[in-house]
């Protein structure tokens, strides 16, 4: 009996780890793309919330979850474009531009939700994604059921990790992106459009952030709550640093966070006499501790935070 419980516990924990890591993986990959091109996007938290809200709203209205995911991606792209206008075209402070996007998008998400649904006593719900059990793979003992009974968005997130890695390190586009992020003057000299490259990275990254947010309202939960993102965007920013701007290492961090998040849910359920708030705190605390470990040797893209103005010397 004890052993059965343990297997169920481990399998459940593996499944929860994968689930809870999914939104962070999307967001981390989106942020890596932006930062590799030289732009820190602190709009991430707000973009994720807008993605979560839009995805929910469109699914509620249309009945199609995938349409909701698409809408979340589009909204993420639009906000990425706004970020690009501020931080790339105008070359404004990336810190403040990003925080502006987050504040604006957070306000907008709550505003639109309230406008559409009013303040109902019971929050409206949608029919969320169903988990898909992969044949054969899910039969692997111990780890199979947890790893391979997941939402389609989780499988997509896992496929995106190598895709992003190949894009960045093995393709011409990736070389351009990295050069723009390391040395935009060199990139410009060899004919790479710095402004356009950064804009596209922010737009594509925004789409990933939006989708990551929508996972929380379309799969993890079936409703929209104002604190649904709960700092996961900031955690993703931390994971990018933790992972040294590398897709694989960054998602490793996301997995650890997902594991802790999944663990705290389970420990809460076991009725341990410690406030669940203590468990909720642990992932954030460990994220900070993880940053302490890596920050001294962090390989920051050399032109991160630096706006590029080709004409500056022209006067």
């Amino acid at each position: 009996m004890g052993e059965m419980l343990n297997i169920a516990f481990i399998s459940g924990l593996i499944g929860a780890t994968m689930r809870m890591a999914t939104p962070i993986i999307f967001a981390t990959l989106g942020e890596i793309l932006a930062e590799r091109s030289g732009v820190l996007n602190l709009g991430i938290e707000g973009i994720m919330l807008m993605g979560a809200m839009t995805g929910f709203l469109v699914t509620f209205a249309s009945g199609s979850i995938w349409l909701g995911v698409l809408a979340a991606a589009v909204v993420g792209m639009l906000l990425g474009l706004l970020m690009a206008f501020l931080a790339v075209n105008l070359g404004l402070s990336q810190h403040v531009s990003g925080l502006g996007i987050t504040l604006f998008a957070t306000g907008l998400a709550m505003f639109i939700y309230r406008l559409h649904f009013g303040s109902p006593t019971v929050p409206p719900i949608i029919q969320p994604f169903k988990q898909i059990t992969l044949p054969v793979l899910s039969k692997i003992p111990l780890i199979g059921p947890g790893l391979f009974t997941q939402y389609s968005l989780t499988y997509i997130a896992w496929l995106l990790i190598p895709v992003m890695s190949i894009l960045l390190y093995k393709t011409k586009i990736g070389l351009k992106i990295r050069t723009v992020g390391e040395n935009p003057v060199v990139a410009d000299t060899v004919g790479v459009n710095v402004i356009l490259t950064r804009t596209l990275c922010l737009v594509a990254g925004g789409a990933l952030m939006g989708i990551g947010g929508s996972f929380l309202t379309l799969a993890h939960q079936n409703m929209f709550l104002i604190d649904v993102i709960g700092g996961r965007g900031w955690v993703a920013i931390a994971m990018v640093i933790f992972g040294n701007w590398d897709p694989f290492k960054g998602t490793l961090g996301a997995l650890i966070f997902g594991f802790l998040d999944g663990l705290q849910l389970r420990l809460q359920g076991m009725g341990i006499a410690i406030s669940f708030h203590v468990f909720l705190m642990i992932p954030y605390l460990l994220t900070i501790i993880a940053l302490i470990g890596v920050s001294r040797r962090a390989a920051v893209p050399a032109s991160l935070l630096k706006p590029y103005r080709r004409e500056e010397k022209g006067g």
Binding site: L90, L92, F104, W234, A238, M281, L291, E311
Partner: protein, 353 residues
């Protein structure tokens, strides 16, 4: 095809520093018409109720001052930190640290002579906020941990510390809600004007404006703090102990945010609840930027956003536009101000290709 270039311009005269934030406010208010119209609000009516709700009656006007107090303190907190390029996005957590400390003392200082209670609480709340802010400052200076990320993450840590205490030692006996007992009478800020909530903390926050102005303009520390903000490396080679400057900047910044928490607890709520702050710490970022990081500028911009937040209540009641319009306006104001600030240093030149 027409494209544009951004080129440096000659420094603008001093009056621009006043005109630019005002222009940013006007543009933001014009842009606010878009969400108002989308929400189906009658445009002129909405603007009318926005300002009437904040300024129209004695009570509303005093409420606007009441609301401006925490906004002013968090705005000063962020401005003081940003001036030294210490990216303190953690005013929200520091505010909660102040409120939490004030609660712990406010329910337990019954045996202390009454006139001492409030001074103890105010000082302790300041210190608590300051200590909470000094953690990311230490992480930044000693271990090179990015301050944006650490201050943000610490906000969530503090929320959960508060939650754990409100479900634990600080929970009101017999209550199943996450709320504390009421603080003792001697711990409450005196109300200064009858039939209102106009309290002592408002004067305290005005005093803080003076103190920060004084530190910035009249002390060596203020000069050093600014030097670190302009160029940390040059400041270091110029013989300034940058680690100590950043740490003290963080202590003062966090302390101011802590005072905002003390005020909300001892003058408004009288007991700790989970949503004691509707995001004052984050609003502080907008207020600091719109105030150009100058204490007097922060004073005026906190009053402006207080008008928006208080007025949005009436506007929402009368026209059905959700109160979250206030948050949307704050976000827009930050971006508009940022764009306007660009034009103090640069101009846009249109050109044909």
């Amino acid at each position: 095809m027409i494209s544009f270039r951004i080129v440096k311009r000659e420094p603008l005269p001093g009056w621009a520093k006043v005109v630019i934030p005002i222009a940013a406010i006007i543009v933001t208010l014009i842009l606010s018409a878009i969400p108002i119209l989308i929400a189906g609000g009658h445009l002129w009516k909405s603007y009318y109720y926005l300002f009437y709700g904040a300024l129209g009656t004695r009570f509303n006007l005093l409420e606007t001052f009441v609301k401006s107090s925490p906004l002013l303190l968090t705005g000063l907190a962020v401005a003081f930190a940003f001036r030294a390029k210490f990216w303190n996005i953690g005013a929200e957590g520091q505010l909660l640290a102040g409120a939490l400390t004030a609660t712990a003392l406010g329910v337990s200082l019954g045996g202390v002579p009454q006139p001492l209670v409030l001074p103890i609480i105010i000082i302790a709340g300041f210190v608590a906020g300051g200590i909470w802010a000094s953690i990311p400052a230490l992480l930044k200076t000693k271990l090179k941990v990015d301050d944006v990320v650490s201050t943000l993450l610490l906000n969530y840590v503090m929320i959960h510390i508060m939650g754990a205490l409100l479900f634990g030692p600080l929970q009101q006996p017999g209550s199943s809600w996450p709320r504390s007992s009421a603080i003792i009478k001697a711990a409450c800020y005196p109300i200064l004007l009858a039939r209102s909530r106009f309290h002592m903390g408002i004067l305290l926050s005005l005093f803080a404006v003076f103190v920060i102005w004084f530190i910035n303009k009249k002390t060596t520390f203020g000069y050093r703090s600014k030097a670190v903000g302009v160029n940390v490396r040059a400041a270091h080679f110029g013989g300034i102990n940058t680690t100590s400057v950043i740490l003290w900047t963080a202590l003062i910044s966090g302390g101011l945010a802590g005072l905002a928490g003390v005020g909300e607890l001892c003058a408004i709520q009288y007991r700790l609840i989970m949503d004691i702050s509707p995001g004052y710490g984050y609003s502080g970022i907008v207020i600091a930027m719109l105030g150009n990081l100058h204490p007097v500028g922060v004073l005026f911009s906190s009053l402006f956003f207080s008008v928006i937040i208080v007025g949005a209540q009436t506007m929402s009641r009368m026209t059905g536009v959700p109160t979250y319009i206030a948050e949307v306006i704050q976000g827009m104001a930050l971006m508009v101000m940022l764009i306007f600030l660009l034009f103090t240093e640069y101009k846009i030149r249109l050109m044909r290709k």
